[in-house]
Symmetry: C2
Subunit: 184 residues, 2 copies
């Protein structure tokens, strides 16, 4: 007998249902730790490498590739433009996460997604970063996301599915960041 995997939106729904069942019977499996290593090159230019993570009760051994990502600043921000700026990279993470959350939760709910593209923009007043006005925040004053989706689901359903996004939570709610500086 040939069995075909039950795949929707590119998500293996059988594996998703199994995962949910496994986590329900052992919540420890749901605890993940993600990591990055970052190296300063010069000025506002940095390179990160990402590989190891903990999850499903163990250190991951499946990931083969180390993902290397740059970050830099354009000329008007005194850089050599070797990569996107950190706030632009946040937009990349947010757009990807909203989309993936929507497609995964749609798959779990039997909803087809045919296509999805988004455009994101975030405004920032550099008087905050430059320390010129303590009333002005350093980060984005707000982010607008326009997400175009081909699906039979309603706009409201799709928005609720997208909002399962972990990065949406990280950005819209306060996430504690503990910084330990170690002098070399």
């Amino acid at each position: 007998m040939i069995t075909t995997a039950n795949v929707k939106n590119g998500v293996n729904v059988d594996q998703l249902v199994e995962t949910i069942g496994a986590v329900q019977s052992n919540p420890e499996l749901a605890k993940f730790e993600f990591r990055a290593k970052n190296n300063w090159i010069n000025g506002g230019h940095c390179v990160s490498s990402i590989k190891s993570f903990y999850g499903v009760g163990a250190e991951d051994e499946s990931r083969q590739e180390t993902f290397t990502m740059e970050s830099s600043h354009p000329h008007v921000l005194l850089g050599q433009d070797e990569g996107a700026t950190p706030p632009e990279i946040v937009l990349h993470a947010l757009g990807s996460c909203l989309t993936a959350a929507m497609t995964y939760h749609a798959a779990a709910n039997g909803i087809d997604i045919q296509s999805a593209q988004s455009s994101l923009d975030g405004g920032v007043d550099l008087q905050g970063f430059l320390g010129l006005d303590a009333e002005v925040r350093k980060g984005f004053d707000g982010i607008k996301v326009k997400l175009k989706v081909k699906s039979d689901a309603s706009v409201e359903q799709l928005e609720n599915l997208a909002k399962f996004s972990p990065v949406f939570d990280i950005i819209t709610n306060p996430t504690p960041v503990a910084i330990e500086i170690v002098k070399q």
Copy 2:
């Protein structure tokens, strides 16, 4: 007469001082808008492209390259591992931004930074994302950053400089995200 640019930590300090002066006399120049376009490939796999931005009173025309970045999920998260996950990408953005903020503000204050590397980790309980426990948040419950720096400045000084980071602000404080879903 040959003049040498006043560069510290890879940052052109003369240009930085000029920028601060220009913004002080015309705060409109400090208003930036950063953007990303994101395309869903399949499952939890997306690709972003980043190029255009607005700043210094005009649409940027200096950036030549379009930065393309992937995001995906490892096998245990039902993906094909074509790229880092969105929360890992947030760690990349945060590490890069803390470091760049530190080196820029150090340069402005006459502080030398010889080297900087950081490791970042963030814990997440997937019961939140999976919708299994409404009490569990979907994003990181916290991020730890260990930043190793070679510099004569004190740990406290360096930490205060790093905290000018826009991404640190975006993550630690609530940043409004407006989502508009458009059916195709």
